[in-house]
């Protein structure tokens, strides 16, 4: 019981510390903004550890963070193999193919208002559908290896990126297009120099949404059949064996990979759309 009390006390203390920081001058600085969520996260981990230890929760129900950490450290090669199989081969390749295809299709239908009017409502509707349901079908078509996972990811990321790109290509103003016309710029020049750059904030919006979708697609597709490696495979088999520490280790890897993926796309966005109001700091 003393452990539980200590955990709760530490958590409350961390919260009080955060209140102090949030209302001090530190909250305006970069360090302060980084420190507050870090302290909060750390205190939650400590509370979790204390609760598991204090109540003697069985590792089959909820392993302590320390046990998960030990598993991660001990099973690095396995985790790395799963990561390569699911993330690099399945999610990443599918993401690149799907996003590229979506942008290309958006540019192709850009010249036909008829196609746009027809495809946009359908694209919008399809992005609201539980596309993940096609995973078993695609696994049946493309086999158990990463190709079927990449195919699921392609379908999942295609529509959000398509819809956003089409919206982005329409985002220029008449004045800007007129200016390009006075420069005697052709269609492709206008596209390359004005409309695609102007569409970038929208495209990146779609790309960012798609990062999570890509990981979800790759992992769920593995529930329907996979070679004997991969994050989805490991999770479903380890759950069956009640090896929850390994499951949590995979989840930690997935969370890390997902956040890093999102972060990389955000960095690319910052580098490429530095001119956009949402990216300018002051």
């Amino acid at each position: 019981m003393i452990w539980v009390a200590a955990g709760v006390l530490i958590w409350l203390g961390a919260w009080a510390l955060n209140v102090r920081i949030a209302h001090s001058a530190l909250a305006g600085t970069r360090a302060g903004r980084m420190a507050i969520p870090l302290i909060f996260g750390l205190s939650v981990l400590i509370l979790w550890e204390a609760l598991v230890f204090g109540f003697g929760v069985s590792a089959v129900i909820l392993p302590a963070p320390s046990a998960i950490g030990a598993t991660i450290a001990g099973a690095l090669p396995v985790l790395w193999g799963d990561f390569v199989q699911t993330f690099v081969k399945g999610a990443l390749s599918g993401y690149v193919m799907g996003c590229a295809a979506a942008v290309i299709v958006a540019v192709l239908i850009d010249r036909s208002p008829f196609l746009q009017k027809g495809l946009l409502p359908i694209g919008n509707f399809v992005s609201a559908l539980p596309i993940i349901g096609i995973a078993p079908i695609l696994v049946m078509w493309f086999g158990f290896d990463w190709q079927s996972k990449a195919a699921v990811v392609v379908v999942m990321v295609f529509f959000p990126v398509l819809v956003n790109t089409v919206a982005g290509l329409a985002a220029t103003e008449g004045m800007q297009r007129d200016l390009m016309k006075t420069y005697a710029a052709g269609y492709w020049q206008t596209l390359a120099k004005l409309r695609l750059p102007a569409a970038l904030p929208f495209i990146f919006n779609g790309l960012k949404i798609s990062t999570t979708l890509a990981l979800i697609g790759a992992i769920v597709a593995e529930f329907f059949g996979s070679p004997t490696r991969g994050m989805g495979f490991r999770i479903s088999t380890e759950v069956g064996r009640l090896g929850l520490d390994m499951v949590w280790a995979e989840i930690a890897v997935a969370a890390l990979a997902g956040s890093a993926f999102y972060g990389v796309v955000t960095l690319a966005e910052k580098a490429l759309t530095f001119w956009h109001p949402s990216q300018r700091q002051h």
Partner: protein, 310 residues
């Protein structure tokens, strides 16, 4: 938009051409045509295989005819899917284990439960974030990070966990997954919406000597409604995905996700496709229902039909 003095009255045909109906319908037709072509192309291998085994040489017309009626096609033709869908909804009793209405109802329950839980959670956290600077700074980054975690990775574990804790059935774990997926859009939009009243409006309420509670209920909450409903549409779709994913890991026997899994495991593509389309229809109905609710609520509040947050 239409200025009667300048523009002649449009005929109904022009209205159809100018509207979205025609383009959407033609794209849909094109999809069906491509689908049929793909069905012939993908199923022909099996037909040719069978013919080679029987030692016959089928004509093209025979191949096409055969690809339309296979029992276990690689890609079922649209009319096969439609027939299965019809057979498993209208022809079956609603309580039958083979009825998609029955399975859809199971999925819908978890979807609605998760959707409501997620929405309440999202609104509650948003209210906290708007009112507490500490919470804004410490919880918001984690809420963002929580969405980069592929929740489906957690799905099998949530199911085992809730069983271990002694909760029978799958409604609770499915609800948790749905709620996890649907709370985030609500949270983000509500934070935006609750902060949307400008300084002038807040100042006005201050001159009325309004308390924090009064400001919240009379200004912030009504102002956030358009944002709320915009998020609702995203959240309800996400919630359905959560419910279906919750049914995917082995063991489920009820629900649309379980139907897909059964179709996949027993090599019955028609079941799989019918369940997939049932899920699509369900998603469409849910989004439309939320849209109607939005119109109703905004009209009751005296706002014009279209919300401000798009």
């Amino acid at each position: 938009m239409t200025d009667a003095a300048v523009m002649p009255r449009r005929t109904s045909w022009q209205r159809v051409r100018g509207g979205k109906m025609l383009p959407v319908l033609s794209v849909l037709c094109a999809i069906v045509v491509i689908w049929y072509a793909a069905a012939v192309w993908m199923n022909a291998t099996w037909t040719l295989d069978q013919a080679a085994r029987a030692g016959t040489e089928p004509t093209f017309a025979e191949i096409v005819a055969d690809t339309m009626v296979q029992k276990r096609p690689l890609l079922p033709a649209p009319h096969q899917v439609a027939a299965t869908l019809w057979d498993q909804t209208i022809e079956q009793k609603v309580t039958s284990k083979r009825s998609l209405v029955f399975h859809g109802w199971i999925t819908l329950q978890a979807t609605i439960l998760g959707f409501v839980t997620g929405a309440v959670l999202g609104v509650a956290v948003a209210v906290g974030i708007v009112h507490s600077r500490t919470m804004d700074l410490s919880v918001m980054p984690w809420a963002v990070i929580s969405q980069t975690i592929p929740i489906v990775a957690l799905a099998p574990m949530i199911i085992v966990l809730s069983n271990a804790v002694g909760i029978d059935g799958r409604t609770v774990p499915k609800t948790i997954i749905s709620a996890y997926l649907s709370y985030f859009p609500v949270l983000v939009s509500m934070v935006k919406g609750l902060r949307s009243p400008g300084a002038a409006q807040r100042d006005l309420l201050k001159t009325y000597n309004a308390s924090g509670m009064q400001t919240f209920f009379k200004l912030r909450l009504p102002a956030s409604l358009p944002y709320f409903f915009a998020a609702m549409k995203v959240a309800v779709a996400a919630s359905l995905i959560g419910a279906i994913v919750g049914e995917l890991p082995t063991g489920a026997i009820q629900g649309l996700g379980a139907r897909m899994l059964i179709g996949s495991q027993f090599g019955e593509p028609l079941i799989m496709w019918a369940a997939l389309f049932a899920a699509a229809i369900l998603a469409g109905v849910l989004v439309i229902a939320v849209g109607l609710l939005e119109r109703l609520a905004l009209r009751l509040m005296g706002q014009p039909g279209q919300g401000g947050a798009r």
